[in-house]
């Protein structure tokens, strides 16, 4: 019923969109997997990062990809400070309080953006925003946009870096120890509060990277984060909490499902596929498709 090139195009489109979902979900899975909290402020933090990239480009003419070494540390510091100074202090170790605090923070961030940037939807102009490359065999060539391809590569690099960090460094070992057994880790001399804040910082640093890759082909407004939150949670659950490889594969899978759902069911109903998968995974395989049974 559909031309092969349309299907291939939907597949590639889904994979590249999915890579961005994966980047956003990487940060979330780190926070969720270690701190075991639902970070309601994740979408708003992404929105802040997008405005950061936007402001750098508009004010000082810094290209989004050049902004990477600025945005990633900046978001890391924001995350570290937020966890250490606000979330940790306000939560008193209770889940429902963490939830309320992150919710309050997201309300503050969203409305600060509204205050400073108004509710207009903004985009940036780069020489490569609309450029495309042809991919595929001679008969069924498909055009893919360059920024999306870069985002795809970026997602792979970031997840590889995170896996190396988690498996090969002392910090990674400490993070894994805290995720498994908080009290035991504390008794071994690990500064649990510091590890928590590092996780939050790293989680937001991923968003900083995601924002740099996302903005050339996307837009920003104060509500832009909301659309990504539930998708990111879906990816996290699908891939198994705290699993980076799972988040990457889950993100790609969700991107493809959304793309094909949109092709076969129409744009708005296509998204239902994501949530149906989400509910089914939660009910039937809550450890995620790639997670180990605990």
């Amino acid at each position: 019923m559909f031309d092969a090139s349309i299907l291939l195009s939907a597949l590639l489109n889904g994979l590249t969109t999915g890579a961005v979902y994966a980047l956003i979900a990487l940060g979330l899975t780190l926070i969720y997997g270690v701190l075991h909290i639902i970070n309601f402020a994740h979408g708003a933090s992404l929105m802040m990062a997008l405005y950061g990239v936007y402001a750098l480009k508009e004010r000082w003419g810094i290209d989004p990809y050049v902004a990477l070494p600025i945005m990633v540390p900046a978001m890391f510091l924001l995350g570290y400070g937020m966890q250490r100074l606000i979330i940790n202090r306000a939560s008193h170790g209770k889940d429902e309080n963490i939830l309320l605090v992150t919710l309050g923070l997201s309300i503050v961030m969203e409305n600060l953006a509204l205050l400073f940037f108004k509710s207009d939807t903004r985009t940036i102009d780069t020489p490569y925003t609309l450029s495309t490359v042809a991919i595929g065999p001679e008969m069924a060539q498909v055009m893919v946009s360059v920024p999306k391809l870069v985002a795809f590569a970026g997602a792979l690099v970031v997840s590889a870096l995170l896996i190396v960090l988690l498996q090969r460094t002392d910090l990674g070992r400490a993070i894994r120890a805290v995720a498994k057994e908080k009290q035991g880790a504390r008794l071994m001399g690990i500064d649990v509060e510091h590890v928590y804040a590092m996780c939050f910082g790293l989680g937001l640093a991923c968003l900083g990277a995601a924002a740099c890759f996302l903005l050339p082909a996307y837009y920003v407004n104060p509500q832009v984060g909301n659309g990504f939150v539930l998708v990111a949670f879906t990816v996290v659950v699908l891939g198994g909490m705290g699993s980076f490889a799972g988040a990457l594969l889950g993100g790609l899978l969700i991107g493809v499902v959304e793309s094909f759902g949109g092709l076969f069911l129409g744009e708005s109903l296509g998204q239902v596929g994501i949530f149906v998968i989400f509910i089914a995974v939660l009910l039937l395989r809550p450890q995620g498709l790639f997670g180990a049974k605990t």
């Binding site: 306000a90 919710l103 509204l114 949530f275």
Partner: protein, 322 residues
């Protein structure tokens, strides 16, 4: 006095006092404020039944809100029902959705954040479906035809709506009083505090939690139906959007979960705060919500057990009501 009698007396006093407000003033602004505050109380109290007493954190109470709202609208527009008949039916519809979601989630043993996420996802599925199918009016939404009369539940003044929502809040308070004083309520709180221990002494957690979802859903559904009657309009974003879920849970948690008056106090305090900041800083979009969010964080920071958590700190002579 028994605890139940005390609860009922305090509910009676509250209702008696509030019921007189529309008699004392005709001011539309005041009555509108009272109505919207009671509306927030109803949602917080509905969430409290499942979240506060059952310990099951729902992020998707908009699911029940939207179900009640759409049922109320569709029953009148498409089937020609009288709204007074449609209201209990809308609550029943929301209760059925609660039974379905609750049974499905608890059958598969979802707890904590997993339950929160699954309710969030169900609300989102309902939102997208209502955005796409014709009988909910898709993205355009549904408009209730204007036909002012008591029999049509469209009162000429705000006073009628204040009494209507007061009636629904009273129902929610009575459900809460029932949970505080009944065997079922004791089971529910036992499951919340320690599910394994509750199971060991013969409580069926699946049954108890599912029924709590049904009760909570029915109350939230009544809030949705009320919304449609007041504003005569519903669309997928209003019905199933996450801000409704958030408003319900924030009111209950800020007020104090698992208490009779906590959600009422919390919803009222947040409503006053939102109103105040809107009036003070209305000309600068965003700043009022920045303050609202910051105050929310501060409340959580300094009142970790909600406003009702202050109660044991009151001077002893004030604490008649224990």
């Amino acid at each position: 006095m028994t605890k139940l009698l005390k609860d009922m007396v305090s509910i009676g006093l509250f209702v008696w006092t509030v019921a007189f407000i529309p008699v004392l003033t005709q001011s539309g602004v005041t009555l509108n404020f009272v109505m919207m505050a009671l509306f927030a109380c109803l949602m917080a109290q509905a969430w409290n039944v499942l979240g506060g007493f059952g310990g099951q954190f729902s992020f998707g109470h908009a699911l029940f809100f939207g179900t009640g709202a759409y049922f109320q609208a569709i029953a009148q527009i498409s089937w020609g029902w009288n709204p007074w008949v449609a209201l209990p039916a809308a609550m029943l519809a929301a209760a059925l959705v609660g039974a379905w979601v609750g049974a499905l989630s608890f059958r598969y043993g979802l707890k904590g954040s997993y339950f929160a996420l699954v309710t969030l996802a169900f609300a989102e599925v309902f939102r997208i479906v209502s955005l796409s199918v014709p009988f909910t009016g898709a993205g355009v939404g549904l408009m209730l035809p204007l036909n002012e009369s008591w029999t049509n539940m469209q009162f000429g003044s705000r006073a009628g709506f204040v009494w209507l929502i007061l009636g629904l809040v009273t129902l929610a308070l009575c459900v809460t009083a029932y949970l505080r004083n009944s065997r079922f309520g004791a089971y529910l709180q036992a499951v919340r505090d320690n599910e394994d221990a509750a199971r060991a002494i013969g409580v069926n957690p699946f049954y108890v939690k599912t029924w709590a979802t049904v009760l909570s859903g029915a109350l939230m559904g009544s809030a949705g139906a009320f919304y449609v009657q007041v504003f005569q309009y519903i669309d997928p974003g209003i019905g199933f959007g996450s801000h409704t879920s958030v408003e319900a849970l924030v009111g209950a948690i800020v007020g104090g979960m698992g208490t009779l008056w906590g959600p009422v106090l919390g919803a009222l305090a947040l409503h006053v705060l939102a109103d105040l900041t809107r009036n003070l800083f209305g000309q600068m979009p965003g700043i009022n919500m920045v303050i609202y969010g910051a105050v929310l964080v501060v409340i959580v920071m300094f009142l970790p057990r909600g406003i009702a958590g202050l109660y044991p700190h009151l001077p002893k002579s004030w604490r008649r009501y224990d």
